[in-house]
Amino acid sequence: MAKDQYKGVWILAEQNAGRVQRVSFELLTRGRALAEKLRRSLTAVIFGFSIPEQELQGLIDRGADEVLAVEAAQLAHFQVEPYARCMLGLLSEHKPEIVIAAATSMGRTLMPYVAVKAHAGLTADCTELDIEKDTNNLLQTRPAIGGNILATIKTPEHRPQMATVRPHSTRAAEPQQGRKGVIRRIRAPQDALGSRTKRVDFVANRAEHGLQDADLVVTVGRGIKKGENISLIRALADSLDAAVGATRDVVDRGWLSYPHQVGLSGKTITPKLYMGVGVSGSIQHLAGMQTSENIIAINIDPDAQIFRVAEIGIVGDLFEVVPVLTEKIRQATNKRQR
């Protein structure tokens, strides 16, 4: 394979009802860094239908040099076959060296479907991306074996180098005023649009969404001992206006439902504040929260692993500490409101 024919960094942006999804801006943060290192241009590819111009411009404002918007009524919602055909068409025409997508329900479906057909290497669920000196290979780092270790993977010979990136594992790129770039709207080729899957309905579930979007998260671990004690955590979370997260132990015991689960087997979160209560900090849990901006942990065991990633660690009995802390926060926030 003539590797040097492949140039440029691509991100696969996602839209929902014509709105570019936040995760795409995270990809722009990643893609920009790679493009700078390689001194190549950054292209955002997006599939959809009648995507508003300002949405596409938003991708330029946040770091893309070029936007390829492939449009057709049949592309309004993700369907793997037409999306894959359009993507494969673009790849063979433009030959990017790197293609990254979000590890979402779409990215994790489309990317492997495309990669096998393109005979490209694909790495799942990366948390770090970098460029190897001298070779310019993409270095893809991901948690492996239940998150106990990290593995760095590369694709030395095949192109493009493809990766999915864990949502919320980096910051979303901010818009910069006056950034210039090229927006190309491409009508999807008719023969690419057939689909043997058809979306006949969609049922929204808002509750599942809250945790990853929350700025403040109070997470409870096994230290809470009983399901009925969760009310302590809810009171603390309410005082902060925070969402409630849980470790796998807590979810496995049925004390909170799966959408609350933080960690490798649940959600990755990067809130402004993560407060862990009775959380020991297994590696699989740390993998889902250690990039939070501020981390506070409360645990009775001074050797708990969670303290290794925390900025403030309270060593004490959560059943004594949490009520006091809740009251103090209530007082503090009430004062501010007055």
């Binding site: 669920d125 106990n148 993977i153 808002r206 901006e293 060593v315």
Partner: protein, 265 residues
């Protein structure tokens, strides 16, 4: 209905060792189990067969001892198993695994559905299910939480996405990858175990498949593990002892102070 269920044998615990040189897992000396997420695929396949008739065939790529994973699936209630095993497959990445499994499935005759678990708990990629669909040029529905009905060459499924679920009509034959919500796996029965003991597992090697030898195993895999390492943690933690009432009061105040400083409250 003829249903194929790809099944992976994975190490029991998370305490797996890595070969520092190749970056692949050392699988010896660790108890091997059926990938826990494949149990949901096995279960729903059995339920579909109970409703629609037909058969469920498991297929596993792995070392000879992966036969026991297929036997366990038979003990749960699937009809037969095919083991795809060859030294040439060792060290395969997800591309190469998808390639070999799709070639094996082509050899296994006609089918209506391929049902996969969401991902394997060891590699944790979730790429092989969609990869098989891509190489067999089949429609795919991933993250399926429910199979609503099957009729007239279609199945209607619920597909979990970030903000809810989609209802999809999927033309058969197709690949589904299923999540835990789809059905609670049953335990193997005594009769099932007896049947499993008597069932002969067909073995396919590289020579039985229409595959390009250059695309197999470690050497045929596009990706390479460069290094493996322990995550580094680089935060300095301010430890606050909260052993008695006064200390708790003080610690709580310091937390509030911190929250104010960082403009979190």
């Amino acid at each position: 209905m003829r249903i194929i269920v790809p099944i992976k044998q994975v190490p029991e615990t998370n305490a797996v060792k890595m070969d520092e040189k190749t970056g692949t897992m050392i699988r010896e000396d660790v108890e091997a189990i059926v990938n826990p997420l494949d149990l949901y695929a096995i279960e729903i396949a059995i339920r579909v067969r109970q409703q629609e008739g037909g058969e469920v065939v498991g297929v596993s790529m792995g070392p000879p001892k992966a036969e026991s994973a297929l036997k366990e699936a038979i003990a749960m209630g699937i009809d037969s198993g095919v083991l795809v095993s060859d030294k040439a497959f060792a060290g395969s990445d997800t591309w190469s695994t998808s390639y070999v499994l799709s070639a094996a499935i082509r050899r296994m005759g006609r089918f209506d559905l391929i049902i996969c678990g969401e991902r394997a708990t060891d590699g944790d990629t979730g790429q092989v299910g969609p990869g098989i669909a891509g190489l067999l040029d089949l429609p795919a529905a991933t993250y399926v939480s429910r199979i609503d009905k099957i009729s007239n060459g279609y199945c209607r499924v619920h597909r979990l996405v970030e903000d809810g679920y989609e209802v999809l009509d999927v033309e058969l034959p197709a690949v589904l990858t299923v999540v835990k919500e789809v059905a609670e796996p049953r335990l193997p029965t005594l009769r099932g175990k007896q049947k499993a003991r008597k069932t002969n597992i067909e073995v396919l090697s590289a020579g039985d498949l229409d595959v390009d030898a250059a695309r197999l195993g470690l050497n045929g895999s596009p990706t390479r593990v460069v290094k493996i390492f322990r995550p580094k943690v680089a935060r300095e933690c301010r430890m606050l002892e909260a052993g008695d009432e006064a200390a708790i009061e003080k610690a709580a105040e310091q937390v509030v102070e911190f929250l104010r400083e960082r403009e979190l409250i």
